[in-house]
Amino acid sequence: MTSDLIFVFITAAIINNFIFKYFLGICPFLGVSKRTDMAMGMGFAVTFVMTVAGVLTWIIYHMILVPMNIQFLQYITFILVIAGTVQLVEMYVRKFFPNLYESFGIFLPMITTNCAILGACLFIQKFEYNLIQAAVFSLGGGLGFAMAITIMAGIREELNFSDVPRYFKGPAITLISAAILAMAFSGFLIKR
């Protein structure tokens, strides 16, 4: 049972990394990865919202949607739950951690449209995880996202000092560095 959970965690965090395997959450991955501290903040905000939303949507899906046989409403329900969670987290952080709130700025509301969150909720239903597995999966996925975005920010800080061809400055070179990073991550895929 425990080894199974560890497997779910490692799979979600590294092997099926949300960014390098599923391409979810690319917008913040490119937009917020200019500085390591901001990237880490974003990463942990996403981890938190993802875990809460993953557990909440599991409960709603299995306790409300399935018994009433209205699974076709799942997309609408999930997006509402995510938007609500983000709103709650935003209010909580603003009240109790004003400094953190200042530094998050616009990232928190942006998480609503972060496809990694909705993707995690959908994958949990698709893989038919139970509640504990769902929690572990979304926590692992969030941490994997935080790791990827922090590595990328580190690379981009170094890129500032390198001589990039004129037309490749900005997103183009970021994507190409991401390609090399993704190649390293796909090493986990082939040996199965």
């Binding site: 599923y22 391409f23 917008c27 997309y75 938007a83 183009a172 993704a182």
Partner: protein, 203 residues
Amino acid sequence: MSKSNLVSQFTNGLWAENPSLVMLIGMCPTLAITNSVANALTMGMATMFVLVCSNLVISLIRSQLQAHLRILVYMLIVATFVTVADYMLQAYLFTMSQSLGPYVPLIIVNCVILARAEICAAKKGPVTSFVDGLGVGLGFTFSLTLLGVIRELFGSRSILNYQILPDSFEPWVVMVLPSGAFLTLGLVIGLVNYLRSRKRVEA
């Protein structure tokens, strides 16, 4: 609204404000499902359908929207149309909907749609919004298909499953893997930057 304005609104989305190559939004589907041309085309069409419908509806109700609730209303409208598109795909193109998997429901959080709702549909009339949705949707489909063509050609020697390159060409496996997606998109964006800057110098 004069005719030339509508035409410029349409072409604007195709090239000058092409969502995934110039504005750099809606990257997730651009990278995720461009490993074959057929997937890319289907995804582009589904997104265009949702974009046109949601633009039209949002534009029709724009005077009723409360500022602080508008994002939520956009999300609900988009989610409704995505559910329609998802069920249509499952009914008529079952294998395709299986291979696209969760990326169809993920159209809900595609920033292209929210961006067009905010930039265009919330401010302009239904006809302009409709045309804008068509233009941006086509531009999105175009860039997806372009990436799909490059990746499928080098990754599996074929386009739409018809073999193009000879057997002696060793397929570049990396192109159908995730890293190929990042690499192709990076190179294409570099190329687009080059083309745009050249045009500016000439003009």
